[in-house]
């Protein structure tokens, strides 16, 4: 091989070598176990679907961000999934339309986007999540946030912090107590999103300025938000947030940012973002939304655990038992059954330590090397 570019991987795609692959597998299994324990059934939708069905289930899903190509058999456009949530929405609206509600489903799998974010070059990510279909009530939101925190912790997240938001806040206020012209709404939302006080004034959203200050640790911020809610248009939302926060108690540090819109393309009244210590950027997000078609309410979340795997670093070395030539296979099988990990000798001249072994089988006993 003389061409060094022949094995180049495309930008934003990478191999996970044994240590990192093991960490990712552990994180995925632990998170799925936590969801399973709370009664969420796993589903496995396909990697590729018709573009149309991926695009229609939720507002704000952009097929432009997906890898797309023509299906040689149907001649229709196919898309590689960029978000499993929409596939779960399709399942709930079609094959499981008659399943009793609330329907609890979870999933884990790889997703890909055709162009990476500005700040995160990865184009493939491991998405793990759970969806509670049939309800977007306060009780559903509380269950889902608590499960998200528990799953993130199981996957290895430490010092989890949860940031609440009200994704439809601007729409609600613009229609009631703080009227905006329809053409102003987008600009105001954009400046609120960037927390740009100067830009907000220019966009004609001066009345929305106090919302920028109702941000921070939950208790103080929710009181500020309640103080701003002159017309009472937000009363039910504020009460809902308080109940969700009460349910979480001391599980995580809670903050409120009522105007956050980043990553909440299809959420309705409630959204949240998870952060963990040592992880740059968000670990996951979720909220309430509506599945288009049946217009069914739902609540769910997704974790992107690659950041955790990167932050976990080396991880602990595991005990490995070296099985020399001529060992008793039944002894080895028994030791594996009680949890030993074994590596069998294939030929002469091997160095067990170089192969990562910590112990050697002598007779019927593992002996430390």
């Amino acid at each position: 091989m003389s061409d060094p570019t022949a094995d180049l991987l495309p930008e934003g795609l990478a191999d996970r070598l044994p240590r990192a692959a093991a960490a990712a597998t552990r994180a995925m299994r632990a998170a799925l176990d936590a969801m399973d324990a709370h009664g969420y059934d796993r589903v496995r939708p396909p990697l590729i679907e018709f573009e149309k069905s991926m695009a229609m289930r939720m507002d704000g899903v952009q097929p432009r961000r997906m890898f797309r190509f023509v299906d040689p058999s149907s001649l229709r456009t196919l898309a590689l999934r960029s978000d499993i949530t929409v596939q779960v929405g399709r399942i709930a609206a079609t094959s499981m339309a008659d399943a009793p509600r609330p329907l609890r489903l979870c999933y884990a799998g790889e997703v890909a986007v055709i162009r990476a974010d500005q700040l995160d070059p990865a184009r493939q990510r491991l998405q793990i999540g759970a969806e509670l279909i049939g309800s977007d009530s306060v009780a559903a939101a509380a269950e889902v946030v608590a499960l998200a925190v528990e799953s993130a912790e199981a996957a290895g997240g430490r010092n989890i912090s949860v940031d609440f938001t009200l994704p439809d806040l601007v729409d609600t206020l613009a229609a009631t107590s703080l009227p905006l012209a329809p053409e102003q709404v987008d600009a105001v939302r954009r400046e609120l999103d960037a927390k740009d006080a100067g830009g907000l004034k220019e966009a004609g959203g001066e009345a929305y300025l106090p919302l920028l200050y109702a941000t921070g640790p939950f208790e103080a911020a929710i009181d500020k938000l309640a103080g701003l809610d002159a017309g009472g248009a937000l009363a039910s939302r504020i009460e809902g947030l308080r109940q969700v926060a009460a349910r979480l108690g001391s599980m995580a540090r809670l903050t409120l940012d009522p105007t956050e819109r980043h990553g909440f393309e299809y959420q309705s009244w409630f959204g949240f973002t998870l952060y963990a210590e040592g992880v740059r950027g968000a670990l996951g997000r979720g909220g309430t939304y509506s599945i288009r078609g049946p217009e069914e309410p739902a609540t769910g979340f997704s974790l992107y655990v690659d950041a955790l795997v990167d932050a976990a670093g080396e991880g602990e070395a595991r005990d490995v038992l070296y099985l020399p030539l001529g060992h008793d296979p039944q002894v080895a099988a028994r030791l594996r059954a009680i949890g030993w990990r074994t590596v069998a000798q294939l030929g002469e001249g091997e160095d067990p330590r170089a192969l990562g072994c910590s112990h050697m089988l002598q007779g019927i006993d593992p002996v430390a090397l």
Binding site: D117, L119, A194
Partner: protein, 222 residues
């Protein structure tokens, strides 16, 4: 959260234009650099402050936004031109510091733009290709941007482009180079910027935002 184990905060400030005006504002919010910072001969890029848990880095304005957006610095000060140009999703600009005022404008030779420009296509020299492209797009004009890092003013006379987009404060440089300002794209002022995740997970960042905001409001009221 264990405060003792927290890593130091990094505060990014730009070289040049905004710095002089920013220092007093920072001082009122409790961010005071060590004496070496004011030493013109000091080539260091990192400086201690009077706070044990904070250091300053002095970098180019565009790099302030990049450091903060990636979370390598948690807080910074930069002109809104840079914020708009990058449009980073992980950057918040919660406080308008009301300093470093200027405007981003389109300018062309006094005698009109060169014939490289047509009705629906212009060639523009600028440090701000994204802002420029968006500005012309809104008018249904396709802007072909030539990215320059300085001395934009000479580009039209040498035939590199028909017009330029650059920061204007007094208009003096334009005039001296035979250019005239034809339209203002956006008014600029310096902003306090913070990393989104840092604001949400580190109470010290939120406290800094409050300090800068209180100072800005006090100045506005005065």
């Amino acid at each position: 959260m264990n405060t003792a184990a927290q890593p130091p905060l990094t505060f990014a400030i730009p070289k040049g234009r905004i710095l002089e005006e920013a220092l007093p504002v920072m001082a009122r919010a409790g961010v005071v650099p060590e004496a070496a910072f004011h030493d013109k001969d000091n080539r260091s890029l990192t400086f201690a402050t009077t706070r044990d848990d904070m250091r300053l880095i002095r970098v180019r304005a565009f790099d302030v936004a990049t450091f903060v957006a990636h979370g390598a610095a948690q807080v910074g000060i930069v002109g809104s031109d840079v914020i708009e140009e990058f449009d980073y999703s992980d950057l918040y600009a919660p406080v308008d510091l009301d300093i470093g005022h200027c405007r981003l404008s389109v300018a062309e030779p006094v005698g009109g733009a060169a014939p490289v420009d047509s009705y629906s296509h212009v060639r523009v020299a600028t440090k701000y290709p994204n802002l420029t492209r968006r500005h012309f797009e809104r008018q249904g004009v396709q802007a072909e941007c030539v990215k320059l890092n300085g001395a934009m003013e000479i580009a039209p006379s040498l035939g590199l482009c028909g017009r330029i987009v650059d920061l204007v404060s007094t208009g003096r440089t334009l005039k001296d180079n035979g250019l005239v300002e034809t339209s203002v794209i956006v008014q600029i002022s310096a902003r306090l910027i913070v990393n989104r995740a840092a604001l949400k997970t580190d109470p010290r960042v939120a406290a800094l935002v409050e300090a800068f905001r209180a100072d800005a409001q006090a100045r506005e009221a005065a």
